[in-house]
Symmetry: C2
Subunit: 337 residues, 2 copies
């Protein structure tokens, strides 16, 4: 089981309107509600890739209940949240025929006790190995399907994705990374800003910034320089998504850093929201768990990510399309002078 920790899960509301104008009143035609936050999307993609995923992180209030209820219906996704006193956040995306407008609530501030509990819950989960967790919420189909075996419940890797809520800083994120390392579980971090540097210093096995995040956090000018700066701080592998240009993967090797760039044969247009989360899911499954070679993993990541772009909802992929695209993805080794 892969534990997908979302520090700031969300209820994602999509409002369909006929048109949008600032300072006007809008009648919403249709409302779509989905469980969100980057880690939640990662878990949902993992389930579609046939991997068992466990959603974790702080969850609270009526909005938290709604997130939990919506996730129960997601096949293959298990839940083990840390309860908090604040209410989890909403995001509102207003979709008009000519574009989308987003409003993101900040999320509840975590108390220091809640931050400690989050780390405690993660440690307990990593220590318990094969022990069943009676408090877990399984997917709806578990009522009729066999429960996962004790072995299937063992956490084999951890992802930490998304923005940090008020009260949870880079230091605490680093503490979560260290907890994974102490329990010898590989951990991937997808975040931005100074927290990305903290995760690198804490020795995250994989970092997955996008280009803008990598350049902003490191102050470097190129994705290769940024990725190598993060390796220099302590990260094991850095995969930097480059939008339509695919992605760059760099890791430390005995003979020095080694880098590859994987690119799709042609740009795919659609909805890029959540494409990065599908990359994280592929990296968690194939790099952290299966320990496949980095170039192979990058090709899969590009194919799955391109299929995610064709799906209207974040957290969805098209495995058939990804299989079709896989042979067309190019891979090139990049010199690391």
């Amino acid at each position: 089981m892969i534990l997908a920790l979302t520090p700031n899960p969300a209820l994602d509301l999509t409002y369909e309107v006929d048109s949008i104008a600032a300072f006007a009143e809008h009648r919403v035609r249709r409302v779509h509600a989905a469980p969100g936050g980057k880690g939640v999307n990662v878990a949902r993609v993992l389930a579609q890739l046939g991997r068992r995923a466990l959603c974790a992180g702080p969850l609270g209030g009526a909005t938290g209940e709604e997130i939990r209820d919506l996730l129960v219906a997601a096949d293959g996704v298990w839940q083990a949240w840390t309860p908090i006193s604040g209410s989890s956040r909403r995001t509102v995306t207003v979709v008009a025929p000519d574009g989308a407008t987003g409003f993101h609530e900040p999320g509840p501030a975590l108390s220091s006790a809640e931050c400690s509990q989050l780390k405690e819950d993660l440690r307990a989960r990593l220590s318990s190995d094969a022990a069943p967790q009676s408090s877990d919420t399984g997917p709806q189909s578990s009522d009729t399907c066999p429960q996962p075996s004790d072995d299937a419940r063992r956490i084999v890797a951890v992802t930490l994705s998304g923005s940090l809520p008020p009260g949870l800083d880079g230091d605490q994120l680093a503490g979560l990374v260290q907890a994974c390392r102490e329990h010898e579980r590989p951990v991937l971090v997808d975040t931005s800003g100074p927290a990305l540097l903290d995760a690198a210093r804490a020795g995250a096995d994989v970092l997955k910034p996008n280009l803008g995040e990598a350049l902003a956090a490191t102050g470097e000018d190129t994705p290769l320089a940024a990725a190598r700066a993060l390796l220099g701080l302590g990260a094991g592998t850095v995969v930097c998504s480059l939008g339509a240009d695919g992605m760059l993967g760099v890791h430390r090797a005995p003979a020095g850093d080694a880098a590859w760039q994987a690119a799709p044969a042609e740009a795919i247009s659609g909805n890029p929201t959540g494409a990065g989360d599908s990359v994280v899911a592929v990296l968690a499954a194939r790099l952290l768990v299966d320990a496949d070679p980095l170039p192979d993993v990058l090709r899969h990541a590009v194919a799955v990510s391109a299929s995610a772009v064709t799906c209207p909802v974040a957290g969805q992929i098209d495995p058939g399309l990804a299989a079709q695209l896989l042979p067309t993805v190019s891979i090139e080794e990049i010199p690391c002078p």
Copy 2:
């Protein structure tokens, strides 16, 4: 107790942002959540006027739970909702320094069984007279305060305020008005469109459209002509709010229609949202329950409404300011040729 029925209650979310632009992403600085819908605002103003109010109407889903929880903290407001399978709606108001932008969810569609249950619940409440209702949710302070006496629980008047959700049409609104009439309880309706005409035909004791709603529904050119058209259909009294010009009240009298216009001494600037609901609360308390003379009631309504405009949140009034303004409100009899 005055029963304030809200056909389409809402969770009102206010998002504070630094600025707003279509097709951009916005970080919400602060979130304010409040129970909303016109009838809910009426109940909250009634409580501030020292009258006991009972919120009723269809309520469902996680958003319904949140509305209920937020109302528990409102002093003097009791709740007796009709459960529905859909989820109650949200409204989102995005407030930037230069203005507000609103998004209104449509609300859940009511099944015909749910519409029947709503009327059944209203009938049961009106029949039960002095019988205590163990299922009511009281305000938080009721834990330490004495429960209302059986007599105080008797419903003495009904207000029906706000838009109708999908599935509840003007015919069904008329059925709710008729139920009140059969149980000899005075009823006030604040709605718009064809439903306003249906409420008049069903013999609502008081209608409270605003100017635009009155003209649109009747096709008349002046507020006096519109109000008299509604009286002609069967309404007992029509109070038409005229914004900064105060309000016009017209009722049927033995010697023919009689009309008064009450106006504030000076225009008050502020937040007009919810001012109309404070007018409904004053009309319910002083016209339906106390049966005070219409000109006196109009003066109070203008003063309370002006105080509501100075409050930042819908459903709030400033009783001290209203008392100060009351002597300055002008009242003029309008000839009804």
